[in-house]
């Protein structure tokens, strides 16, 4: 029986390295590009970029790219109804016409995700919209697990006592993957009792919102870089999805397809042939570009679900934030 020695292994490894560098430069380049900004990234990009340029000019990456494109096309699930279509199927029962005189009032409610990227990008997208007025009620590190820290129920009671909103865009949950202390008992994360308790809290909260507005768009939590944290967030997401389904005027928007690659966490996405950074370096929050993908979608839903009389004036209307933590 023929024996293989070290020389054989070295030959095979060398051929493999040459193959990878020649035909698989795109994959190596993408890997280097997606590293954290620093010396390692710079080092590998310095080496691989000129090689990629050469292999691209010689079309050596074509087998990799073409086979991948063909494979993804063949394996695409054509049955999947896009989120956009699913929501568009819902008929709007709003007869009221919103205008400059009768603005559509939107409450943007949530934790740091809402406070940072979402509210900023909503405002940016709506800056030209004279018939829409946004109010932001957002607090860092808040959620439903720790009412002792920030009591969302009290906050919404206060705001609804003074103002009515036509629609609410909300997101919570990112800070809730922790044990809950309730009436002197500690409920541990990843137990059925915790799930049940949290789900009830979500239900009560969303019920309160539902009774005080015409429509709620509940933004789900995106995938996270850290596997354990991601598992917890997916669980919380599924709880929210389940609760939202209990209310006719609450729509859960799963944003995973918007800001992930094949439903997995990705710092960057290719959009219109451009690499866009969609997640911040903490592996949790969205960048403004990432948030824009979602806010644009929600704004389009709002414009579909509500009727607007569009008039243009030369004056900019003010968008007032009543409460901003």
């Amino acid at each position: 029986m023929k024996k293989n020695n070290l020389r054989d292994v070295v030959i095979i490894l060398s051929i493999l390295i040459v193959f990878s560098i020649t035909f698989n430069t795109t994959s190596i380049y993408n890997w280097a590009f997606n590293q954290k900004i620093g010396g390692v990234r710079t080092f590998f990009l310095t080496i691989i970029t000129p090689i990629k340029n050469i292999t691209d000019s010689l079309y050596l990456s074509a087998p990799y790219s073409n086979s991948r494109a063909v494979f993804l096309r063949l394996t695409e699930n054509k049955n999947n109804t896009s989120i956009e279509n699913t929501v568009y199927d819902l008929t709007s029962d709003h007869e009221e016409l919103f205008s400059i005189d009768r603005k559509l009032s939107i409450l943007l409610l949530g934790d740091s995700m809402m406070k940072e990227a979402f509210s900023f990008m909503f405002k940016k997208s709506l800056v030209e919209e004279k018939s829409i007025l946004t109010t932001t009620l957002a607090s860092y590190a808040s959620g439903l697990s720790r009412p002792d820290f920030f009591d969302w129920n009290d906050e919404v009671d206060n705001i609804f006592a003074n103002k009515k909103f036509d629609t609410i865009v909300a997101t919570l949950g990112m800070n809730d993957a922790q044990d809950i202390e309730y009436e002197g008992i500690k409920y541990f994360l990843n137990t059925e009792k915790w799930d049940s308790l949290y789900k009830n809290r979500a239900r009560n909260f969303i019920s309160k919102l539902s009774n005080n507005t015409d429509r709620i768009y509940w933004i789900g939590i995106p995938p996270m870089r850290d596997k354990r944290y991601d598992d917890r967030m997916r669980k919380i997401n599924s709880l929210y999805m389940s609760v939202c389904n209990e209310f006719e005027n609450v729509f859960f928007i799963d944003i995973t397809p918007f800001v992930s690659y094949q439903n997995k966490y990705s710092d960057y996405l290719k959009i219109n042939n451009k690499t866009v950074k969609v997640r911040l370096s903490d592996g949790k929050h969205l960048t403004n570009d990432g948030a824009k993908l979602i806010t644009d979608f929600i704004v389009s839903l709002i414009k579909k679900d509500f009727k607007f009389e569009y008039t243009r004036t030369i004056f900019q209307e003010e968008m007032i934030d009543i409460i901003d933590y």
Binding site: N4, I11, F19, N77, K193, D195
Partner: protein
């Protein structure tokens, strides 16, 4: 770092080079491998490198002390202390929260206002694997199957060796430690086996397991009531294939990588879904764990030598604890209990010969075992017990139109099943043909395979399922 990543490729090329370039200096080579293994582990979480070291250090000394004493009683005392220490480490990190929350829930049920404090404990990656491996060393020394090692480096390398550190196979001390005192032969490297194992492992993980997970299994298990009966059923089949491909892939790659470094691990999977009985299934699935449980738990409990009733109890208890090993959750206990129960029933009704003769009975037995294992996988995969029950209810979702069963998903499931039924003779013929091909041509074939795998695999790599254990 995960196996099918560029980081690991760079890491491995470096360690491979250092390993063979220091072949004439065994101690230096072993120290390099230990440092590499600790780096590999620290890449996950550097905080637990100390735990790994303490585990190795303590078990090294337990082995020394057992070797020092002549009287069996003293040896036994040290053995008991070492097993308790290892189980304490495992119990604290893995089961503290589970037992405390269960205890506190019982207090609530009885209306008692007393509860034990909970700590936010992070589970170190691979703790179930390396503590079992450490126990294996001390028990083997106690039994006289190996001599206590005088080299701390050898014990550190045995417990932390990076190919099998985080997800097995659980390598026995008597199989691996003797290899450490022999310099690997650079003229006889199991290259062909390594290549076939690594490529098949990458295919199983990157293509079959990853796509089944994202396209079918994760979606259905997250919200089973939203999917049709067919999707619920296919998701169970999909998960059976996913977990097999995921776990066996890791083992295959670990064994292949170890081959390339000059070490030999036993195989960990042997086409488990072709089993005709549950007993056979456990001789083919996660062989290193099932044999560990047999040798260090089932047999010390008495095995089948203390009468029928005791045999059934021992079987059930072993499998219950085997289930608990996988995770601190009632789901895993139920999973283990189901397997233990059916194993006991099989033992009650039969004979040891599990190879049937009649083709119809062979097919029915194989299908029956496969479907029972799939039923148990529901408890294994569901996040909570309630989730498992909801999943079982979802089998009655008749009116919903399936949207996830695409031709590609069906092909993946079929591939996963067909892998089990490729005749061994065919595999051998293929391997022998491959071995005759010149090395340079082998390199080109492997290059093409890697390129194909890379172009077809999803972006980003999901961690291996067994990392959570």
């Amino acid at each position: 770092m995960l196996f099918p990543t560029i980081e690991f490729a760079i890491f491995f090329i470096l360690i491979f080079s250092l390993n063979w370039s220091t072949i004439k200096f065994p101690l230096v080579r072993k120290i390099i491998l230990v440092i590499a293994s600790y780096f590999f582990y620290g890449y996950w979480d550097w905080r637990f490198m100390t735990l790994l070291f303490l585990c190795s250090f303590s078990n090294y000394f337990f082995g020394i002390f057992i070797g020092l004493f002549q009287q069996k009683n003293y040896k036994k005392i040290i053995l008991v202390i070492s097993v308790c220490v290892n189980l304490l480490i495992l119990g604290f990190f893995k089961y503290y929260g589970f037992f405390i929350s269960s205890f506190n829930n019982i207090m609530i049920q009885f209306g008692l206002n007393f509860h034990l404090p909970i700590l936010n404990i992070i589970l170190p990656v691979g703790i179930s694997f390396f503590t079992f491996q450490a126990m294996s060393y001390v028990i083997d020394v106690y039994r006289g199957e190996i001599k206590p090692s005088k080299s701390l480096i050898d014990i550190m390398l045995y417990i932390s060796f990076f190919p099998q550190l985080v997800a097995g196979p659980i390598v026995r001390a008597k199989d691996f430690i003797p290899q450490l005192s022999v310099t690997p032969d650079y003229k006889d490297i199991k290259l062909n086996s390594a290549v076939i194992l690594i490529i098949s492992g990458l295919f199983k993980k990157m293509i079959i397991a990853n796509y089944l997970s994202t396209m079918l299994v994760d979606k259905v298990f997250a919200n089973p009531l939203n999917y049709s009966t067919l999707e619920v059923l296919f998701a169970v089949y999909g998960y059976a294939i996913q977990i097999y491909c995921d776990f066996s892939a890791y083992s295959d790659i670990a064994i292949g990588v170890a081959h390339l470094l000059g070490y030999h691990f036993p195989k960990n999977f042997d086409h488990p879904y072709r089993s005709q009985s549950l007993q056979e299934f456990w001789k083919r699935w996660h062989i290193s764990l099932s044999s560990w449980l047999k040798d260090y738990l089932y047999i010390p409990l008495g095995g089948s030598k203390k009468g029928k009733i005791r045999t059934y109890i021992n079987l059930s208890l072993t499998m219950l604890l085997g289930g608990l090993w996988h995770g601190a959750s009632w789901n895993f206990i139920i999973w283990g209990g189901l397997h233990g129960g059916v194993l006991a029933v099989e033992r009650f009704f039969k004979k040891d010969d599990f190879h049937k003769k009649n083709i119809v009975i062979i097919i029915l037995s194989t299908l029956g075992v496969f479907h029972f294992v799939c039923l148990c996988w529901i408890f294994f995969r569901a996040v909570t017990l309630k989730g498992a029950i909801v999943y079982l209810r979802a089998f009655s979702n008749i009116g919903i139109t399936p949207t996830l069963i695409t031709p590609f998903v069906i092909v993946l499931i079929i591939c996963g099943i067909v892998i089990h039924f490729i005749p061994d003779t065919f595999s051998e013929k293929l391997k022998n043909r491959y071995k005759k091909v010149p090395v340079f041509v082998q390199g080109i074939i492997i290059g093409f395979f890697f390129l194909l795998l890379s172009s077809l695999s999803p972006e980003g790599v999901a961690p291996f399922i067994y990392f959570q254990f």
